[in-house]
């Protein structure tokens, strides 16, 4: 039972990883690529680690996998935010069909 549950969670995780990397390849500029890839890949890795927890239960490996979930969550989101702020200050232009640019007023 727990093996089937863990396989379901790992399958969901691999599916979200696939969507994230597909967005990383297909989208037009760096802002779109980062917002697609970070969210999807974070949720995918989250689901894979949760599947590992369901497979091993309350043991050393399972608890370790459960503890890594908030660490991955915080690390990847904070890194993405800092990277995209640095990209904007570096002067990379947005895609020419982007609509909203609110950060331009905040920088000045």
């Amino acid at each position: 039972m727990s093996n089937i549950l863990s396989l379901i969670f790992i399958g969901i995780g691999v599916l979200f990883d696939f969507f994230g990397c597909f967005g990383l390849i297909r989208l037009p500029d760096v802002y779109n690529r980062l917002q697609a890839a970070t969210k999807c890949v974070t949720l995918g890795t989250w689901c894979i680690l949760l599947g590992l927890f369901f497979r091993y239960g309350v043991s050393g490996t399972g608890i370790k996998a459960l503890l890594f979930i908030p660490l991955i969550f915080l690390a990847s989101t904070v890194a993405a935010h800092a990277l995209i702020r640095g990209t904007y200050l570096f002067g990379i232009k947005m895609w020419d069909r982007s609509v909203v640019d609110d950060y331009k007023d905040a920088v000045k």
Binding site: L7, I10, G11, G13, V14, D17, F18, G20, C21, F22, L24, I25, V30, R33, L34, A37, T38, V41, T42, G44, T45, I48, L49, G51, L52, R55, G60, T61, K64, A65, F68, L71, I72, A75, S76, V78, A79, A80, A82, L83, R85, G86, T87, L89, F90, I92
Partner: protein, 85 residues
């Protein structure tokens, strides 16, 4: 079943490396490296199930932390400030 998922994840990491090689600007390459560092944690978690050796999870998590620190350092460099500012 685990083998199929493992092959899919390794293929996806090659897609990230494609973005690293091909990306037109510096932040594009860094986005590829950042996403690759998170994907490696998933690959290591599947390797734990496949080989029943639990220390591989530690390798994945230390890779993720090092990738996090590297991304933060490059973000600081891109915003044209000193590291202690």
């Amino acid at each position: 079943m685990i083998d199929i998922f493992l092959y899919i994840l390794i293929g996806l990491s090659f897609l990230c490396l494609y973005r690293v090689v091909r990306g037109p600007t510096i932040p594009d390459r860094m986005v590829g490296i950042d996403i690759f560092g998170i994907l490696v944690v998933g690959i290591c978690a599947l390797l734990v199930i496949k080989t029943e050796r639990t220390f591989i999870l530690d390798i994945g998590i230390s890779w993720a932390i090092l990738s996090f620190i590297g991304t933060l350092a490059l973000a600081k460099y891109l915003s044209r400030k000193k590291l202690d500012e």
